[in-house]
Amino acid sequence: MNPKILGVRVSMLFHFYGWRLRRHTAQELLAGSGIAVGVALVFGVLAANTSVFGSASELVHGLTGSAQYQLVARSAHGFDERLAQQAGRLPGVQYATPLLRENAIIVGPYGRRPIQLIGITPSIVTLGGAATRNLDVGSLLLAGGLGVPVDIARAVGVRSRQPVTVLVNGDAARSRVRVVLDKSTVGSVADSSAVVSLLPFAQALMHERGRVTQVLIKARPGAERQVAAELRRFAAGRIDVKPADNELRLLAEASKPNDQSTTLFAAISVMVGFLLALNAMLLTVPERRRTVAELRTQGFDWRQVLLVLGFEALVLGLISSIAGILLGDALSRTFFHHVPAYLTFAFPVGAQHVVHTRTILLALGCGVLATLIASLPPVFDLRPSRRADAILREAGGDSEGFGTDTTLWLGGAGVAIMLVVTGLVLIVPSLTIVGGVLLALATLCLIPAVFAVTARALARFSEHIHGSMLVVAVNELNATSTRSIALAGVAALAIYGSVAVGGAQHDLLRGLDRTTTEYLNTADVWVTTDDNIFIADRFASEGTAAAIARAPGVSAVRVYQGDMLDVGARRLWVRARPADDPQMLQPSQLLRGDLGRATARLRQGGWMAISAGFAAEHDLDVGGTFALPTPSGRVRLGVAAITTNVGWPPGAVTLNTSDYSRYWQTRDPTALEVSLQPGVSALAGRATVARALAGRPGLQAQTAAQRIDLYEADTRQGLKSLGEISTLLLIAAALAIASALSATIWQRRARLASLKIQGFDRQQLWRALLLESAVVLGIGCAVGAVLGVYGHALASRALKLTTGFPAEFSLGELQVFITLTLVACIALIVVAFPGFLASRVSPRASFQE
């Protein structure tokens, strides 16, 4: 079986490529590496991006199985379990299975881990979810104990039948691991923090007898609409009726800013990858042009030559892209795979690595397409007017440069794109990410013009300097302008992405730090359950507040309450402060409304402060009202102020604890704010409070400063992936530029040798090579930095306007400087070595063409 394509045997295509590979192994390896690095960046970013949502999707669907609807409580306190039984008897309902979910901490001999404790009933098996279908037997195994995912069990050092402690609702309960759950039993739950037990056991642990937080509903075939209507009537406005996988919709909203940032990086990585591939392929152009000439001389027609070139590019693209995908997979598993802590607290996000087929195909497609496009230059030799070009025209002629018209056209396009982006983003801030991708394109378009102007200016400048190697450097740059422009483009894109996203990230961190400080400085000491970063896990006070109030040095103890509340596609952060709290709102987070008036209204009750995104979605402004879906039904509250999202992407609602207690039907605190008497230090006060907490091992006392540190660490952890992607992009770009520059330099050894014969010594040549590299990097870095700062300003504005994040633009000169220095230093240090070796080339090499 050896078919012919256009008269060429397939085996011959492999032979041709084999010959090429043997003759130009180093060049093919370099080209392949460039493509692989680009594909790895694209794949790594995309895979990291899809993993958070993918793991949550597997987990949610693993639990909900074939359920279409759910009744879900509006607070962690849940609702009466009997409602689940009644729901099961509604017309059209085939199955109804209750769940009880609560955040907790599991403590074993090796340490502690935050978990989500889920109480289930054996009826969940009827839904056939991947995580529960094997629990038929498991329900027996779970009897009287916990099913702990294998990773959690390993982390805390427990095995089946061993005792553990569960900290929940402020108390510690001794329990026993009944079974360690692995993938074969519970699928993706094994990679999550979901610890399961039978419902009565979970209720006992949580002191929530007869309560559930969720009922999964499966309708009989054809009865879906009827069941939805029945459930809404049944819920009577006090319980939410949502699709079974509603968590995913809420997660998508919460992780949108993170996803958008990584999408921008993915788009930049695609461009960087393409440029790396293009540059790598440009290095092979002279050889491939010779191949074209040889094939034509041997009587191959243009279609056959095209077939040979296309086949070679396809094989190179495929092999390199597969290598890139493997590398990208490793990157996404190691560097990029950090699930932000704030998401794991609010959503069932697992740690599993999820890669979709479309991600693989996209990365593969990008790699192969980039290789095919980058392989095009020799194809121009197939035009009838240039039939002999491959033989007659030497490399370094005008064919390698950008024409003046092209440069002007591209420069004009770059400026036009910048103007369009500016207009677009000013009018529609939500299009900032699209604008960011377009700005990256503008960066590339501007490079040839900046390159031409710089080369001309340097040439002028060098005319009057004695013995300047700048003359040699500029001439070499002009001789390989396409390659130099592609390399400057890689540097520019990496710097652009890093400065734009890094700058916005920096603004965001400053804003978040400020809001955190203001938010937590209302008390000297905070008492909360462990790992409770949103202060939304409640505990029974049971006289704890009174005990602390009696402790020496304590002047006041206030009850703080908080929760998560699902409204539409947003999981809002509800924060309730007592009316006597020194500060009801964080002044720096106020966007609209008068601080004094808003504070007075919040203290008075019947008012709330809401985040800008939520307000915009419901067309609300200060003085308006909104019917908030609370556990006691819809309650109309006035809007006292519009705030930022205080760091939680879906937004926040702030009200006073009287309103909260009334509408959420609980007096349980989620924190106690402790004020100390004058002269008592925070640390001494914390120690006093800790002593008063004796007997409540599930509660911890922290000074405001300790709690601020914890928040800031979590914030930074949440943004860690972005920083790592940015750094990796920079390092990869710097190394890729360095290797491509090194290859370019190495390829020119014969010309360097000829310069030596003309009397240039090796220091002069080395200087010229370093200058050349510095100019390429300088152009790329400068254009990238300018556009990056502009992108940063637009991104910060969008963060504030569209997501309501507390981000204030600041230039961040130091960060820009560090970024530029990092890329320039890595590239120049790497280039210095091959440059040094190349400058030592024997003059005799000029005779060995």
Binding site: G396, H466, N478, G759
Partner: protein
Amino acid sequence: MSSLELLDVVKHYAGGGEVVRAVDGVSLTVAAGEFVALYGPSGSGKTTLLLMAAGLMAPDSGSVLFDGRDVARLAERESAMFRRNEVGFVFQGFHLMGGASALDNAAIKLVGDGATLAEARRLARPWLERVGLSERADHKPGRLSIGERQRVAIARALVNEPKLLLADEPTGNLDSRRGQQILTLIRELCSERGIPALLVTHDPQAVAFVDRVLTLQDGRLDDEPRAELRAVSP
């Protein structure tokens, strides 16, 4: 006036378990203003001899004297200065810088010697005129014909007013008409400026333009000119 002298020069290469005697006891002199062709087939040792004359390779034994100095034994920096200040070199492959104009290519050598580009251009322009390319001074190599590129290379070789001109197959890439023009030019420059010129070639037509032809065969000079040269010998 300077002359080039090679005295009993020997150069061996070791490779594949064999020792190849690339140059085997060659002695020759190129007097001031004399244009000498070193003729021989591929592998006869011509380029090795040229490299030794330029101080780029040291002989295993013997001496290469220019102006009384043994140029093959110079330190690297001195050797570079020797080539920069005293030698003009013309390559078969031109080795022009693709991004530089014809004028800048001709001038580049002077930049390496500490001149500004503006000064170097001023000094190079007459040489470009001398080789007939004043109209094409601003053109880059990609827009010059192959013959024109070689003329730029010759202008570059002469721009420092060398005391010795060495040429490695300068007509190897040219058609016979252009080749003759180049050789005529070298000959004129050589006698006009009174400098010794050594031409390495295997083009029999080239020998018609030189003062003397030396034939190299297996690393040794032949006493008798080869048959194909007799018809064209000067």
